[in-house]
């Protein structure tokens, strides 16, 4: 991955925020999301953490607009997100799903080029700037040279990085990612997250791994049973107390040379 000039050109990051987001599904007595608000500041990495079933993926999809909450409003800057035209939304916010599986024989280049759909005319062929954006995105995730490989021949980690390249090729102001480090080996987990942090985009990322969250997120939102348990700067939110109440673990949280470190010692005693 190229270490320099990561910042996406010509895109001004923008704040994305949600207010009073409530999502219910039939057959579940309690809402999946219950009056959750959050604010992801422009150009910062905001992590969504919480145990399984706490509603983090649902919150991400409510922000993305792929789930319509029963109540609440998502804003992009000061504009209601839902009021933007469909294609403009796709040019502003890119989403990377947790499991992007496919049965197709698409080549890597084709997958990344999907990210240019919201920029191109419906019938128009790809323009030079589309090809350039795709090449840049592939370079950023370190997959240059794989353009002709078929999707089915890629490993789980390679698929994840190609999807990240597709999202970057959208040249969005906001990146929403649902557990992007799944299937990645440790080296690529760190590479992907440091890359995301270096884009200068507004990033909202669902993370499972608390150590990664501590290392790469500027801010954290901790969800617990569909509600916000805590939200704020990472070092304020990620405390031994939060980890015990929400995650049920005993943990040691310390700072080393300005970086926050989380060490899980074991399950909290009942």
């Amino acid at each position: 991955m190229s270490g320099t000039a990561v910042r996406t050109r010509g895109v001004r990051p923008v704040e994305i925020s949600g207010q009073g987001l409530t999502v219910r599904v039939r057959g579940r007595p309690t809402p999946i999301l219950d009056d959750v608000g959050l604010s992801a500041p422009a150009g910062r990495v905001t992590g969504l953490i919480g145990p399984n079933g706490s509603g983090k993926s649902t919150l991400l999809h409510a922000l993305a607009g792929s789930i319509s909450p029963q109540a609440g409003l998502v804003r992009l800057g000061d504009r209601p997100f839902g009021e933007l035209p469909r294609r403009e939304r796709a040019r502003t916010v890119a989403v990377m799903e947790q499991n992007s599986d496919s049965d197709t024989d698409l080549a890597v280049a084709d997958v990344v080029a999907l990210g240019r759909l919201p920029h191109r005319g419906r019938m128009a062929p790809a323009r030079p700037q589309d090809a350039a954006a795709c090449a840049r995105a592939l370079d950023l995730v370190g997959m240059t040279g794989t353009e002709h490989r078929r999707w089915r021949t890629l490993s789980g980690g390679e698929r994840q990085r190609v999807q990240a390249a597709r999202a970057l090729a959208q040249e969005p102001a906001v990146l929403l990612l649902d557990e992007p480090t799944n299937h990645l080996d440790v080296q690529h987990q760190h590479e992907l997250l440091s890359l995301l942090a270096a884009t200068g985009l507004t990033v909202v990322v669902v993370l499972h791994d608390l150590a990664l969250a501590a290392r790469y997120c500027d801010r954290l939102v901790v969800l617990h049973e569909g509600r916000t348990h805590a939200a704020g700067p990472t070092h304020e939110v990620l405390t031994a107390d939060t980890l015990r109440t929400v995650f049920g673990v005993r943990a040691d949280v310390s700072r080393h040379a300005g970086a926050l470190r989380v060490e899980v010692l074991g399950a909290a005693a009942g």
Partner: protein, 353 residues
Amino acid sequence: MTMSSSRSAELARPVAATVGRTVGTALGTALVLTAVAFAAVGTGGGDITWSETARSLGAHLGLPVAPLPSLVDSVVWELRAPRALLAAVAGAGLATCGVVLQAVTRNALAEPYLLGISSGASTGAVLVLVMGLGSGAVSLAGGALAGGLAAFGLVLLLLGRSAAGADRLVLTGVVVGQLFAALTSLVLLGWGDADAARGLTYWLTGSLAAARWPSVLLCATVVGVALLALRLIASDLDAFAFGARTAASLGVPVAAVRAVALVTTAGVTAVVVSSVGAIGFVGLIVPHAVRALVGPLHHRLLPASAVGGAVFLMLADTVARTALAPKQLPAGVVTALLGVPAFLLILHRRERR
């Protein structure tokens, strides 16, 4: 900045070369289609020579050639020519339907016959025919459309709102297809006249024996309009590769694209079934083979599959007419004999992943 702009220039393909290649592809395609169509028209019993075939076609197309005796001429122009062209148009339509259904269901085994749509269209057409509701090719196609939509609707209803797995989709389609095949038999044998038994083969396996010019024109119009509509959503169909949610996040109007896909496939299947009966597997074999040649992107896959379907069904019907001559097989028998191994092959490859 400078680096990336020089890279852009490098990536820009010369426009002239692209245009030249497009024109070349179009000419080559037209040549292949014409050659296969001529071979289909010229092949068959009755000792009609190739030059007689050419003379008959030439005379009707306004070329300055001596016309043939009317008996020979009518065999070529009234029977064989519409039959070959109907095979071409129906094959193009069915192959295109397969491509679209495979894209929106994300299932390589989806096609109008296996999803029961063709069987439903047969039932609808037979009801119109036997109950004497209206008359002519258009009301027949209308009945087929209603039946096709009913079958499609039933499949979707049985699948429920949950995202169905590939296997469940095909199983449900096959079961619904069996139901409508039984209904077709019931209507034909219970209320039809003496010709019903022969009609049964036609509506259940499909045959091009009854092809005449009016149904060629009707089919060609509907398939042509459908291809134009589908060209508009070709890039949207690409985006469905990773599911509807990812497509939506790329700015694709998912509901509208699904509606266009549903209406065009049901419409094309209906008009094809009302003209040639339920010919199966074209929508499975052709897209699969064409994908190997031109790749999975729909702006190439759709037109290439239309051409492939046209060639495939013209050849399949020629084999059906001549393999056991003077006996004639329904074209659907030939497509099924080729389609079942193709189905098993695709299934095997999917499971190995």
